[in-house]
Symmetry: none
């Protein structure tokens, strides 16, 4: 089965709010094995609303509408859909009673009554979260589901009533696994798995996200176990080719993966940050429970601070400069010692937009990582804005620490 999602609301067309309903509904429908082919947003203009709704019902098996069920004359979703199927509206006493109950003690304006009119033969989605009921019309092998626009109403109504309804209609399930990749660009990743991307079931699709690449495996099957098997087979093939670049799965971000690994191994970490100026530590601390692995960190933007807190040698800074392999190494070793941590990270680079030279261009970053077994220094040539360079520097540093932890158990 395929579906499309229509959000009705002028505030979306003005850019006042984000269309979180489309995202929620897309994710939920995909999870039910229903392919979402289109999303639309349209305002409360009757002609344009009618044209969008008619097109959608003609081309899709399921149409999910959000918004336009309110009490004002502008709210025309229900009327437009009923008109398409030639269904008259009747006044539903029970819906009116529920609405009165919901508005308990509040003034019921005449326009509220409009919300109690229901297309004949429709299934009513009773709403405990607001005044407008949801409505499902099933006719001519089409399903049209209308839900109120506010996410606080739409989301629970979908989960509690629409999902079980659709579940019962579906004859297969869809499952996904996201592979999170670091150190390989989108094009390079796609090059390496191009033939696998031609598979129809499970599918494999890449996309870029900040400084990372995501590969999504999606399987369609009759049973959960069969879907898992399809996913697992594809995962193994991908893993054989680019396994070394896969650092995590699904919603597991690099900072969470690293923090968990440190916790598991009982290791502490501390960073001395020049160009990133605290971002590494702040991202470690994004994880609840970070205090088990992070005690302290130092922002050493100036050379003086690098000498004072980290014991970087004055001669090193004079001879090689603040952005150099030598300085990164001394920063990493210095912070490890100062913080008495198991791992010390030193980050120094040129984030831009100014400060680059032909020998040391913007985007040049050195990352030192000191650990009990030694000290490694990465040389990075990063691209993009100041913010992007700094963010990518932190992700590279985290990935390098992760690898060292895995290899030096």
């Amino acid at each position: 089965m395929n579906a499309e999602i229509i959000a009705v609301g002028t505030e979306l067309l003005l850019g006042d709010i984000l269309n979180t309903n489309a995202r929620f509904l897309s994710r939920e429908l995909s999870g039910l094995g229903i392919d979402v082919y289109y999303q639309e947003v349209v305002g409360d203009n009757p002609d344009r609303l009618k044209s969008v709704i008619h097109t959608a019902i003609r081309r899709s098996d399921i149409v999910v509408l959000s918004g336009g069920l309110g009490p004002t004359d502008d709210d025309l979703t229900k009327e437009t859909v009923a008109d398409y199927f030639n269904l008259p509206l009747y006044f539903d006493e029970q819906v009116m009673a529920e609405m009165t109950e919901y508005l308990r003690g509040r003034h019921i304006v005449p326009s509220n009554k409009k919300q109690a009119y229901i297309p004949e033969g429709a299934k009513i989605i009773h709403n405990n979260y607001g005044t407008a009921p949801g409505i499902i019309i099933e006719q001519d092998e089409k399903i049209v589901i209308m839900l109120p626009g506010p996410p606080r109403e739409l989301e629970p109504l979908f989960s509690e009533q629409v999902k079980p309804y659709l579940d019962a209609k579906s004859d297969y399930i869809m499952k996904s696994k996201v592979l999170r990749i670091f150190g390989l660009g989108e094009s390079s990743a796609a090059e390496k798995v191009r033939d696998l991307m031609e598979s129809a079931n499970p599918t494999l699709a890449p996309y870029a996200k900040d400084s990372e690449v995501i590969l999504r495996i999606t399987a369609k099957a009759n049973t959960d176990a069969r879907a898992d098997k399809l996913i697992d087979e594809m995962y193994k093939k991908v893993n054989d080719r680019i396994g070394e670049y896969i650092y995590g799965f699904d919603d597991d971000e690099m900072k969470a993966v690293l923090c968990r690994l440190l916790t598991e191994k009982g290791k502490t970490i501390a960073a001395a940050e020049s160009c990133t100026a605290g971002l590494f530590s702040a991202m470690i601390a994004d994880n609840p429970g970070a205090s088990a692995v992070l005690n302290e960190g130092i922002v050493t933007y100036s050379n003086e601070a690098k000498e004072k807190y980290l014991g970087v040698l004055h001669e090193t800074l004079e001879k090689y400069g603040a952005v150099s392999e030598q300085t990164a190494r001394e920063m990493a070793e210095g912070i490890k010692k100062a913080a008495k941590s198991d791992i010390g990270v030193g980050i120094t680079g040129i984030a831009g937009p100014d400060g680059g030279t032909p020998e040391k261009p913007v985007g040049l970053v050195y990352v030192g990582i000191a650990y009990d077994g030694g000290c490694e220094v990465l040389k990075l040539n990063l691209i993009g804005t100041r913010q992007k360079v700094r963010y990518a520097a932190v992700l590279n540093a985290m990935n390098a620490v992760r690898k060292i932890l895995l290899n030096n158990a």
Copy 2:
């Protein structure tokens, strides 16, 4: 003129990401006096993509597309639009050279070359933020604008190149001024200017953004001078009522306002951060030229680090706890002394999700600010997730430093 916005991307149909591009483009186009009638999302299926693009070009004056300009075979936006207008694609040497320059030294895979093919006669939107150039086709009284999908590319390309292009096409001008407000919630701000929000030209509209509130004044006029006059009159009225909460204008973020103010006054700043763990320093360093005001900073997550680097008294931590007015004060004074800076900031709080108690709930944050004239401590009760609490703590700290700088010239 009317417009519609098409986002191309399977990840949107799967609900993996929010359609922030549609919101950004809707807001920008509305600001230019262009009515947005439809938004759509479609995946990379060639037939469905074609059907959506053809319908859009037929019914709208301007079609803005985002996404589908990448290097893979799935990326078909450019090819589909060129096909509609019967425009052949040519290989653009300059675009290729720019891409090579952007990818500086990286491996250019064959698929990157695909991005350098341009429909004949098209206007190229050169992209300094990524590899895929934007493209504008103007033909048969239609305008089709194609932009790369990543918001970090789309947003600056639109602002810097598409906006001036569309501005020149319009017979009247729209101008906006954004008032950035801190310390007043969206409803409270709206309450204070409710009558002004009924004005038709210029309009005044509030919206919430992260931990801030934005008020946008938009004027429509025949001349630039007339638009400026309308904006200025409205600004004065708003300023009379809530001027003390306005900290900046347009894209001037709090971190930039503060960094500039410090630079102008020749003051240096250093932060000792517990719950924010480097975020304050990292956000100061987001500003190019931050090295003029920032030399160093310390992340003192553990009590031991607070004593060691900042000289916070052991008794203070024992008696009042790490999250207390007293500790925040000693942290601020300690970092000011250690860093020999003009201003010292100490931030300590409970970011959650765990660690709260009835006396010290999640969201309780103390911010100390030491300066040559004294030391102030703010007590904040913040709401939201761990990340939101930490971000709001930093913004509150920055705003407080800003006020101290303004009052203690």
